[in-house]
Subunit: 332 residues, 2 copies
């Protein structure tokens, strides 16, 4: 009997690195494809910071946690290898929440078809969660205007790099915050950011003053940490903050304190948290908004590709430490 | 030559209580009233928390600080005692930013006439800065809906008490946070709040759980301090926070840290700071919104009246410590 590999979550993470003990690698028998079903062979999986949050129970979270013993949740891209469904043909490419598994049996609900000719890395780096998240947060919460200044943290990450490029294309001054000189150089030299700050080695306050001399109008938050206070200090009146991610705090023993709220009043700042599940109905509009930028070559991406299903576990830690250079993708 | 009394600001405050040394009480000669001018005898001055902020230079503030040597800024109510202006008759009552002074010479610009028959305490407690601020913040940033739960800090203060009563009239469950049992009793027994928390003696987290069992949808922030973290912990998805005041931090040696931002994402919270100077053009609309509630007897107020111009200095400290019971007014 032929089998395939999947990885189940079997324990909840403690503060600190993600360990292999939290997961169980299992062999499953190849399923038979029933009426109205399709079998997808997953070719590429996306690793995203939000996945770390999905591993822990939290009654207040926006989606339920992954159940213990269930396949770890993730989005990915695959090819239909068997179909008993009139809407899907063998050979078509689809993407959706398939999880850490080589094969995925489904009725097709929630899957999106992927246009032929689009490179898999481009699909997962731009037209998947990162690009949709960047577009929703920037326009839905950031309200950027030409001539303004935007600062984005996690700027070399999959979301941050798209946020910065969209804002740059819209005529804003764009400053990225990242965790290595290599990433900072990439932001400025390859993506065309106006400036970049290495939060590990630069004097953040001084650099913000230098790179955002007219003050900050939009802050797109992907990381958390001490940047928040410095951004508040440099924010202009009526500034907007889109809160997308807090990767620095997701697995921290003690989440860091936030900045004092006095600047929120003095500068009449609006801070808005958002998550994509609230906006799934808007996905067609978000793709329509994003596509022209991509077609005009204004959105570059780089993928950091890991090999094989089991590399996913170490991949999550790379997201936590920022060791990845580009969108983390696991090739199966 | 007859004179009148005014109080000038002559030094900037240090952290801690406001001291008499920051001010100079001066005698000024009665002015002659030129063409197009009126002389107003101020009868009642309003003391508001924002005034503490106006005493310190802060290039990022929403209005310039009071200049050293200038009359201390405040709003008040008075009566026209001389007029060379076609739009103002002797005996009419007016309100506006007249400052700490017994008499005010002006062209009338920026003054509003006050309807005869309205009690002076009611005017300054409801139809002045407190009521306008409450109305703007609650509806402009809080977006309350019947059936929801609102928590307001500084609930027994001039703004907070109106916020809570408006929300109660709109069909929300309303919980107030205040600093004494006397204030808490007043909120529940006189104003009809559903519950009140004494932040100095109650277990805030436990009380919030008990009094807001369905979670918090709107938080109206007047004080700052540790309440923020507890509110975040109890907030519902898509909660709104209107940030109006941070009285606990205005004169603090070190402003307190704010809460971590993870709940902002998980609960998709929107936080919005606001100040009235951004909304002065809306004052007629705000008064139109507020008036029916007042006319239907739904907005009670209580004034804490001090006597004489020089009591203003101690009055500012009462605002900082919460020693006042009701809207602070200085009767001249």
């Amino acid at each position: 009997m032929s089998t395939y590999t999947a990885i189940n979550l079997v324990a909840r993470p403690e503060p600190g690195p993600i360990t292999a003990e939290l997961f169980e690698v299992v062999q499953k028998p190849m399923p038979s494809v029933g009426d109205g079903q399709i079998l997808v062979k997953q070719t590429h999986m996306s690793l995203d910071p939000a996945m770390v949050g999905w591993m822990s129970p939290d009654t207040e979270s926006y989606i339920p946690p992954v159940g213990l013993g269930d396949v770890m949740r993730s989005s990915g891209l695959g090819e239909v290898v068997e179909s008993n469904h009139p809407d899907f043909a063998v050979g078509e490419r689809v993407m959706g929440m398939m999880g850490w598994t080589e094969y995925f049996l489904t009725t097709g609900e929630g899957l999106r078809k992927v246009q032929p000719g689009l490179d898999a890395e481009m699909v997962l780096s731009v037209f998947a969660l990162p690009g949709l998240t960047a577009t929703q947060g920037l326009y839905g919460s950031g309200h950027p205007k030409a001539g303004e200044t935007l600062v984005v943290s996690g700027a070399a990450g999959s979301v941050g790099s798209i946020v910065g490029q969209l804002a740059k294309a819209d005529g804003l001054t764009v400053v990225g915050v990242a965790g290595s000189d290599e990433k900072c150089n990439w932001l400025v030299n390859e993506l065309g950011f106006d400036g970049a700050i290495n939060y590990k080695t630069d004097d953040i306050a001084a650099k913000l003053g230098e790179l955002a001399p007219k003050g900050i109008d939009v802050y797109f938050e992907n990381t958390g940490g001490p940047i928040q206070q410095h951004v508040f200090d440099h924010m202009n009146a009526h500034g907007r903050v889109a809160v997308c991610g807090m990767i620095a705090d997701y697995t921290a023993e003690t989440p860091s304190a936030g900045p004092n709220w006095i600047p929120i009043i003095k500068k009449r700042i609006t801070i808005q948290g958002f998550t994509m599940p609230d906006h799934y109905d808007d996905v067609p509009n978000l793709i329509a908004k994003l596509t022209p930028y991509v077609m005009q070559g204004k959105i570059k991406h780089r993928a950091h590709v890991l090999d094989g299903l089991e590399s996913s576990i170490e991949g999550l830690n790379m997201l936590l430490t920022g060791a990845n250079n580009g969108k983390l993708i696991v090739k199966l």
